[in-house]
C-alpha cells in the first residue's frame, strides 16, 4: 500500500486570489493540512525588487493554525518578474526580486524556494535564453546559500517557455548550473504535457528532486485530485520506491476553483487520506 505522511501534502494559495490570507490559512487548517507552500502574490504576501512584507507576522499567523510554511514561491509566471527576461532592465529587477524572495523564504522559516525558467522571448535565439538561465541560477544559488535556502527549479509547459520544458532539458541545466543550492522540482502537469512519467524523473534525478508540485491533470490543468486522469496511487508508489520524503504541493490554478477554493481543498485533501500513515 502506497504511504505518505500527513505533513507532506502542502496546500497553496494561488486559487485564493479572491480571498484574504487569513481566509486561506483558516481553510487550510480546516481541510487538515499541516504544511503550506506560500506563493508571494497579492493580496496574501506583497513583495517586490526592493523588499517584502513582515515575514514574522505571516509566519505567526500560519503557526497559530498549526501550519508550517514548507516552501516559498515568489510568483514567477504571471507577474513582470521573469527569470529569463532578455531586456537588461527587466532581467536585473527580476533577479533582485528573486533575491528578495530568497530572504523572504528564510524569514518565513522555509528551506526551499521554487522557481522556473520563464521569460525568454520567442524572437530571441533559445540558446541565449538558456545561457541567461544558467547564469541567473548560479547567481541565485549563491544568494540562496547565504540564506540557508535551496532553489528548486521546475519545468513548465511549452506554451510558457522555449527552454526547460522536459526532464532532459532540466537535467542539462542542472549539470551546467552545478550548484549545491540549486536542485530539481517535479511538476506533474509539465511532466504530463511533456509525455513523461514520475519514474523517469526519479530515475534521472534521484534524491536531487527536492520538491514536487503534485497535482492532477489531463495532462493539462492544475486540478484537484479526481478532476484529472492521473493515477494517484501509482504515482505515490513511485515516490515510495525512490524514498521521496519531500512535499507534495497542491498547486491548484484552474479558474473553476476560484469561487470556492476552500471546498475544493477539503475535497483534495480527502483524496490523500487513505495513504496517510500518521
Amino acid at each position: 500500500m502506497p504511504r505518505l505522511l500527513r505533513q507532506q501534502v502542502a496546500g497553496m494559495n494561488i486559487h485564493y486570489i479572491y480571498y484574504s490570507l487569513d481566509y486561506f490559512l483558516d481553510a487550510q487548517q480546516k481541510a487538515g493540512f499541516k504544511t503550506v507552500e506560500l506563493v508571494g502574490q497579492a493580496p496574501h504576501f506583497l513583495m517586490d525588487y526592493t523588499g517584502f512584507q513582515d515575514t514574522k507576522k505571516v509566519r505567526e499567523k500560519a503557526e497559530s493554525r498549526g501550519l508550517k510554511i514548507g516552501v516559498f514561491t515568489p510568483e514567477c509566471a504571471a507577474y513582470h518578474y521573469l527569470l529569463c527576461s532578455p531586456d537588461p532592465g527587466f532581467h536585473k529587477r527580476s533577479m533582485e526580486y528573486f533575491k528578495q524572495g530568497i530572504k523572504a523564504c528564510a524569514g518565513l522559516g522555509s528551506k526551499i524556494m521554487l522557481t522556473n525558467c520563464i521569460g525568454g522571448t520567442w524572437d530571441e535565439e533559445p540558446g541565449r535564453t538558456y545561457e541567461r538561465a544558467v547564469k541567473s541560477l548560479k547567481e541565485l544559488g549563491d544568494a540562496a546559500k547565504e540564506s540557508g535556502v535551496t532553489v528548486a527549479v521546475e519545468t513548465v509547459r511549452p506554451e510558457e517557455s522555449k527552454i526547460i520544458t522536459t526532464v532532459g532539458g532540466l537535467k542539462k541545466l542542472y549539470d551546467d548550473v552545478s550548484h549545491p543550492n540549486v536542485k530539481a522540482a517535479l511538476d506533474t502537469v509539465a511532466m504530463g504535457v511533456a509525455g513523461e512519467t514520475p519514474r523517469q524523473w526519479f530515475e534521472t534525478f534521484g534524491k536531487d528532486i527536492i520538491h514536487c508540485h503534485f497535482v492532477d491533470g489531463r495532462p493539462y490543468g492544475h486540478l484537484i485530485w479526481g478532476d484529472g486522469l492521473y493515477p494517484l496511487d501509482r504515482y505515490i508508489k513511485v515516490l515510495n520506491d525512490y524514498g521521496y520524503e519531500g512535499y507534495l504541493s497542491q498547486e491548484i490554478t484552474d479558474g473553476r476553483y476560484f469561487d470556492k477554493p476552500a471546498e475544493a481543498d477539503a475535497r483534495n485533501f480527502k483524496a490523500f487520506e487513505p495513504y496517510f500513515v500518521n
Binding site: 480571498y19 481566509y23 497579492a42 493580496p43 531586456d87 527587466f90 520567442w122 506554451e159 476560484f258
Partner: protein
C-alpha cells in the same frame, strides 16, 4: 439576372432611406500587445506597422513595458519606437487583472501600492502622448460586503481622476465579468460608479466581452452614457473569450452599425487575450484587420 435586380433594388432602398453602409476608419482600430507576451516590444511594433495598424493601445506588461508602484521605464525610448513606425499610442492600459495591484484593494499597504501603480500609469500615459488610460473597478474579496468593496474602489478612482486631471489624461473605465469582480460588472454598476466619482477626467468605455456576458447591448450602454463612452475594447466573443474577429459568434457588421448609429468615432482596442494566439500573434492580427477592412471605405 434575378440576383442583379435584387441587388439594384437594395441599392435603391438604401438611397431612398438614406441608409449608410456600416463604416469604420483604420485609425479607429487600435492594435494591442497582450497576445504578444512571448515576443519583444520591437517585434510587436514591427508587426503592427506591417499589418497596417495606425493606432495602438499599449498594454503595460512584461516583456514590453515596465510599470510598477515605484516607477516606470523609458517613456522616451518607447515613444520614439512607436513614432518611428508611423504608429500612434492613444490609450495606455496598465496590466490590471494579473499583476499585484487592484483598484479595489483593501489592506492599507496594498491600497498604497495600487494607487501608486495606477498614478504612475497616468504619468507614463501622459509622457507617451496618450489621451486615455484604461481602468477597471478592481474586484474586492468574495467574502466581504459588496458595498465595502465598491466604496474603496470609488475612493481610489476619485483620487486617480485627480491625478489624471493634473496630467491631462482621461480615465476610461470598463466593466468586468462577474467571475472577475463584484464591483462594476454591468451598465448599472458602471453608472453608479460614474456618478459617484463624478469627475470630468473619469469616463466610460465598453468592453464587448463584459457587455455580452452581462446580456447587454450597445443600446443599453449608449442610452445610459451617451457621449461619455470614450473608448472600447471591441473584440469577438462567444460571448466569453477575447477573440480575433471571426473566431467568436458576434457579427462585425452589426456591431459597427451600432457604433455608427450612435456616432461613435473613438478607438476600438483589440484586446486579444486568448492563449490560442500566443504562438503566432501577428498571423492572427493580420486576419483580424482584414475583417475590419471589409468595412473601410
Amino acid at each position: 439576372m434575378r440576383a442583379i435586380s435584387k441587388l439594384s433594388s437594395l441599392t435603391l432602398l438604401i438611397e431612398k432611406r438614406g441608409l449608410k453602409l456600416a463604416t469604420v476608419k483604420r485609425e479607429q482600430i487600435a492594435g494591442m500587445n497582450i497576445h504578444y507576451l512571448n515576443y519583444s516590444l520591437d517585434y510587436f511594433l514591427d508587426a503592427q506597422q506591417r499589418i497596417g495598424f495606425k493606432t495602438i493601445e499599449l498594454w503595460c506588461g512584461a516583456p514590453h513595458v515596465w510599470l510598477d508602484h515605484i516607477t516606470y521605464y523609458d517613456a522616451a525610448g518607447i515613444k520614439k519606437k512607436i513614432k518611428e513606425r508611423g504608429l500612434s499610442a492613444e490609450v495606455l492600459t496598465p496590466e490590471n487583472c494579473m499583476y499585484p495591484y487592484q483598484v479595489g484593494a483593501k489592506e492599507p499597504e496594498h491600497v498604497k501600492r495600487s494607487f501608486s501603480y495606477f498614478a504612475n500609469g497616468i504619468r507614463l500615459a501622459s509622457e507617451l502622448g496618450c489621451r486615455y488610460m484604461e481602468v477597471n473597478s478592481g474586484w474586492g474579496y468574495w467574502n466581504e460586503d459588496r458595498e465595502e468593496a465598491f466604496k474603496r474602489s470609488a475612493d481610489m478612482l476619485s483620487g486617480l481622476s485627480e491625478v489624471a486631471r493634473e496630467n491631462g489624461i482621461t480615465l476610461v473605465m470598463e466593466s468586468l465579468r462577474p467571475e472577475e469582480s463584484q464591483i462594476v460588472t454591468d451598465v448599472k454598476s458602471a453608472k453608479r460608479m460614474f456618478d459617484i466619482v463624478g469627475s470630468p477626467n473619469f469616463k466610460i468605455m465598453i468592453d464587448t466581452c463584459a457587455m455580452s456576458v452581462a446580456g447587454e447591448t450597445f443600446d443599453d450602454w449608449f442610452n445610459t452614457f451617451g457621449e461619455n463612452i470614450m473608448h472600447m475594447h471591441f473584440i469577438d466573443g462567444s460571448p466569453y473569450g477575447h477573440l480575433i474577429w471571426g473566431d467568436g459568434s458576434h457579427h462585425l457588421g452589426k456591431f459597427i452599425e451600432a457604433l455608427n448609429k450612435y456616432n461613435y468615432t473613438g478607438f476600438l482596442g483589440q484586446e486579444i487575450t486568448d492563449g490560442r494566439y500566443y504562438e503566432d500573434p501577428a498571423k492572427h492580427d493580420l486576419r483580424n484587420i482584414r475583417n475590419f477592412e471589409r468595412y473601410m471605405d
